[in-house]
Symmetry: C2
Subunit: 200 residues, 2 copies
C-alpha cells in the first residue's frame, strides 16, 4: 500500500475513521475531499472543530448544549417553564423541538443508566434535575428517554425520585408509528399499542 | 429549531454537510462526535486537516499525492519505470496498488475530459505525461481510466497523442466482475465480456 505512505493523508484518514458510521472507504473519500479544499476552506473546517469544542458548553439550567449561560429554550420567557421534558441527548431534544408541538422546556441527561456500560445515575445530570425541580415550580415532568431497556430503567429511576417531591411524571406513549404498517410492527410495539388504546 | 441557535454547532454541522456522502443527519452525528472529543483530540483532528492540506503536494513525476518531492512508487528503484499506468485519481492508483499485482509506476490525471463539466485536456496532467514519456524510456502505457464515457474518451484522447511517439498503449479489460452474477450483469458489460472472450 505504497499510496498510503503519505503520512499526513494516513493521519487524516485515521481521524475520519474514528467517527461514528464512517468506515475505511468513506474516511478515504472524506480525506480526499479535505485535500481538494482551498486553503481558507480547510482553515474554516479546522476552526469550526476547535470553535465548537471551546465555545459550546452545557446550559446551566437544562444541561443542553449552548454557547451562552442559558440555552435559547431556557432563556425564552414564552416557553412553559413548569413543563420539563427529560431526554437522553441534545439530539433527542432537537427531535422533540422539531415536532413544533412542544412548548415546555427540556432537561438533557447526557446518557441513560446502563450498568453494563458502567454508566450509573451519578454520571447523568439527574442531580441537576432534582435541584432544579426543588428550586422552581414544576407542574409536570415528561420522561422522553428512549424506548429501550436503558431508557425505560432511567425513566423509572427518575420518576421514583420525583414522585415524593409531588411532581406529576409522565412517559411518552408507546404505539405504532404514524405511517407504519401493522403487518411489520413488532409484537412488543403492537402489544403496547393495544394496551394504550384510546377511545375515538 | 431553537436547538440549532448554537452557532458554533450549526457551523460545524454545515462543514460536515458539505462533505461527499454526508447528509444532514450524519453531519449532526459527526458534529456531536466532535463535541464529545477531549480537547487534545479535537486539536489533533483540526491539526490533521491543516497538516494534510499544507504538507501534501503532487509528486513531481507522476502527479500522485505525496509529502515529498517524489512519491514512494516513483522513488522506488525496484518498480518497472517503463510501464506507466494512467489513472484518473490518487484513489484509483491506490486501488490498482491494492491488487499487489502491478509492478510499474503511475500517472495521475486528476480527472477526466468532460466538456459538460468544463474539464478539458489542459485541466488534466496530460502535458506532464507527454513530457515525462518524451524524456524517459517508456515501454507501455496502460490506460486505467474509469469505464465511463468520460474515462473512455480520455483514454482515447491520450492514446492518440502517445501512439505517434511510438509507445504501446493498452486499455484495462472490460468484462464481468469476479464473483459477480451473470444474471445481474448489465447488457453492455456482458456484450464486452463476450467480445473480449479468451481461449481456456
Amino acid at each position: 500500500m505504497a499510496q498510503y505512505n503519505v503520512a499526513p493523508l494516513e493521519k487524516l484518514v485515521e481521524q475520519f475513521e474514528r467517527m461514528p458510521g464512517i468506515g475505511h472507504k468513506s474516511a478515504q473519500r472524506l480525506a480526499y475531499y479535505v485535500l481538494n479544499l482551498s486553503q481558507p476552506q480547510a482553515r474554516e473546517l479546522a476552526d469550526a472543530v476547535i470553535e465548537a469544542h471551546t465555545k459550546i458548553r452545557y446550559c446551566s439550567r437544562c444541561c443542553n448544549l449552548t454557547d451562552r449561560e442559558l440555552c435559547p429554550v431556557c432563556a425564552n420567557p414564552a416557553r412553559d417553564h413548569e413543563l420539563i421534558c427529560v431526554v437522553e441527548t441534545p439530539r433527542d431534544a432537537a427531535a422533540v423541538e422539531n415536532t413544533r408541538e412542544y412548548k415546555g422546556v427540556y432537561h438533557v441527561l447526557h446518557g441513560s443508566i446502563s450498568p453494563l456500560n458502567g454508566v450509573g445515575p451519578d454520571d447523568l445530570t439527574i442531580k441537576q434535575l432534582l435541584s432544579r425541580i426543588g428550586s422552581a415550580e414544576a407542574r409536570e415532568v415528561i420522561m422522553a428517554t428512549n424506548p429501550t431497556v436503558e431508557g425505560d430503567a432511567t425513566a423509572l429511576y427518575i420518576s421514583k425520585l420525583l414522585k415524593p417531591m409531588g411532581v406529576k411524571v409522565t412517559r411518552l406513549a408507546y404505539g405504532i408509528p404514524v405511517g407504519g404498517d401493522l403487518e411489520y410492527a413488532d409484537e412488543y410495539t403492537l402489544a403496547k399499542a393495544l394496551e394504550g388504546r384510546n377511545e375515538i
